[in-house]
Structures are given as C-alpha cells and as structure tokens.
C-alpha cells in the first residue's frame, strides 16, 4: 500500500483525465443552460404568437362627446387565444392610433379577458366610411376588423 502511494508514475494522466472530464462537464452545462434559456425565451416570445388569438368585438367611434376634437375611438378586445398577450399598437387604415399621445400601448390582456382601450386618431372619422382596424401584439401577431362608421 505504502509502495503504491509512493509511486508517482501516471499521476499526471489521472489529473489530466479528471481535468478533461471537468472541463467537458462545465462546457456541457453552459451549452445546456444556453439552449434551455433560448427555447424558453422562444416559447414565451415570438413562438407564443402561434397561440395568440384576439377578437375585436366592438368599436365605438367618438364615445366621449360630439363634436370630438381628439377623434376618440374605443376598441373592445377579447382574448380567445391560449396565451396572455400584450397589445403594443393599433392602426386605422394603416395609420397609427395613439393613447395619451404615445404610439406604444403596452396593454396586457389575459386569456379570456374582455378589455376596452380608448384611443385617438389624428383624423376625423367620416360618416358611412369603412375603416379597417388592426391591433398588433408584442409577439408580432396582427388582428383586423373592418367597421363602417355610423
């Protein structure tokens, strides 16, 4: 036993092997962590757009007063999808609607929730004219509805 411990031959290959295994394991752990975080981020981000579905269930033009200098419109949105969504922007005929002067809406809507968003346009809505409303989400999905102004 004493002879075995005193014999230093092959100590270096053992250390080398242990070091090699440790480095490999550390590398694999880093790669594993990266891929797991990437796939989680994908599922929660752009990937979740697959499971998004919003319905614009009602549009009310000029709900506050007549005449309405701010050209107010209330959009009622219903989340019928399988994930929570965040509405980031809204458009009428391709032109952006604003909320308190800002374009970025950041309206979160949970699964099954009905939500009203009051927005303003920089143009007046014409009687009897048809408008296409579009809402866009953080994940990149768009949902449209055509509506004829009363």
């Amino acid at each position: 036993m004493k002879r075995l411990l005193k014999n230093r031959k092959a100590v270096s290959p053992v250390i080398a092997t242990v070091l090699m295994i440790m480095i490999t394991m550390a590398g694999m752990a880093i790669l594993f962590g990266f891929v797991i975080s990437y796939s989680d981020a994908y599922k929660a981000g752009v990937g979740s757009s697959v499971m998004e579905s919003l319905t614009i269930e009602d549009i009310w033009i000029s709900p506050s007063s007549v005449p309405d200098p701010l050209h107010t419109v209330q959009l009622s949105v219903y989340n019928v999808g399988k994930v929570d969504s965040t509405i980031t922007s809204a458009y009428v005929n391709g032109l952006a609607l604003t909320k308190s002067g800002t374009l970025n809406l950041k309206e979160s809507i949970t699964i099954g929730q009905h939500m009203n968003i009051t927005l303003n346009w920089n143009q007046a809505f014409g009687n009897g004219r048809q408008y296409t409303f579009r809402i866009s989400t953080l994940s990149g999905s768009n949902f449209d509805l055509s509506y004829t102004a009363p």
Binding site: M28, L31, V35, I36, S39, Y42, K43, G47, S48, V50, M51, S53, T55, E57, D58, W60, I61, S62, P63, V66, D68, Q74, S76, Y78, V80, G81, K82, G112, H114, N116, T118, F125, N127, G128, A149, P150
Partner: protein, 158 residues
C-alpha cells in the same frame, strides 16, 4: 485493407465527439420543434372549432328586445360569452349614443350544434367608462353576441 482500417484507432475520439455533439443538438432543437408543433395543433383545433360553430342572433318578438334567440348553425357546440348593446344616435349620421355590454345568465351556456337557446337581457348595459344604460322605447339597438372562440352574431332592434 478493411482490417487495417478498423485496427487504426486514430481519430476515433473526434468522430465519437462529433456524433455526440450532433445528437445533443438534435435533442435540444427537437424539443423546440415538438413544442411548436403541439402549439400549432392546439390552435388549429381552436380555428376548426371557430369555423364550425357560427351562430345567428334574432329578437324573438318584434315588441320585446329583452329575449333573444341564439342559433348554432354549425356542427360543433358553441359557448356564449358576452352580449354587446350598441345604441344608435337619434339623428342618423351621428356617432352612436352608447356601446355597452351585458353578461346574460346564459353566459358560458353551451348552444348545442344545430340547436337554439333563448337568452334574456334585462334592458341594462354598462360600458368601459362605468356609464350605465337602460333601454327606453324607441331606442335603436344593435345587439351582438360573442362566443368564447370569438364568433359574433348581431341583430338590430327594431
């Protein structure tokens, strides 16, 4: 020749390492692909359900806007969610007076495929500003029913 090739162990580690690396990468990306595939299938089911459960809405009596008839025209059951009540302006060409909603007692009721149910509305509605509306004779209404998959049906009264 083959025996010599098999006996030569040079480069074996590189081959094994490369194969393992590819297998591990495949495992990770298969995970993402399978999730995406399952999510797409789930949403396709929702769209199939939506396409196959169109509803119609009508007022039962010409003198009574409070009782509505909901008919499921599709082959898949439909679940009711909310009733919208839009009140038109007295003078045509002006913006609507009121847009509000009402949760009927029949919310979450299932309208079986090909059948009809009656939905009662009490004449009141609320809107997003917390305002309240009560139906008065002569008001021009557009009633709109929404299902849980996002299908809508509307009718006008009178």
């Amino acid at each position: 020749m083959i025996r010599r090739l098999l006996k030569n162990k040079k480069g074996t580690a590189e081959v094994i390492g490369s194969v393992m690396f590819i297998v591990i990468l495949l495992f990770f990306f298969t995970n993402v692909y399978l999730w995406h595939d399952a999510a797409t299938k789930e949403m396709n089911d929702l769209y199939v359900q939506k396409i196959n459960s169109p509803i119609t809405l009508s007022v039962i009596s010409a003198n009574n806007p409070y009782v509505l008839n909901v008919t499921n025209k599709g082959g898949v059951d439909a679940k009711l969610s909310i009733l919208w009540i839009d009140v038109a302006a007295i003078n045509a060409g002006n913006p609507d007076r009121f847009h509000g909603y009402f949760y009927p007692a029949q919310s979450n009721s299932v309208v079986l495929a090909g059948s009809s149910i009656q939905v009662a509305w009490d004449g009141n509605a609320l809107n997003g500003y917390g305002e309240h509306y009560t139906y008065q004779s002569g008001d021009k209404l557009q009633l709109k029913m929404v299902t849980t998959v996002g299908n809508t049906a509307a009718c006008r009264y009178p």
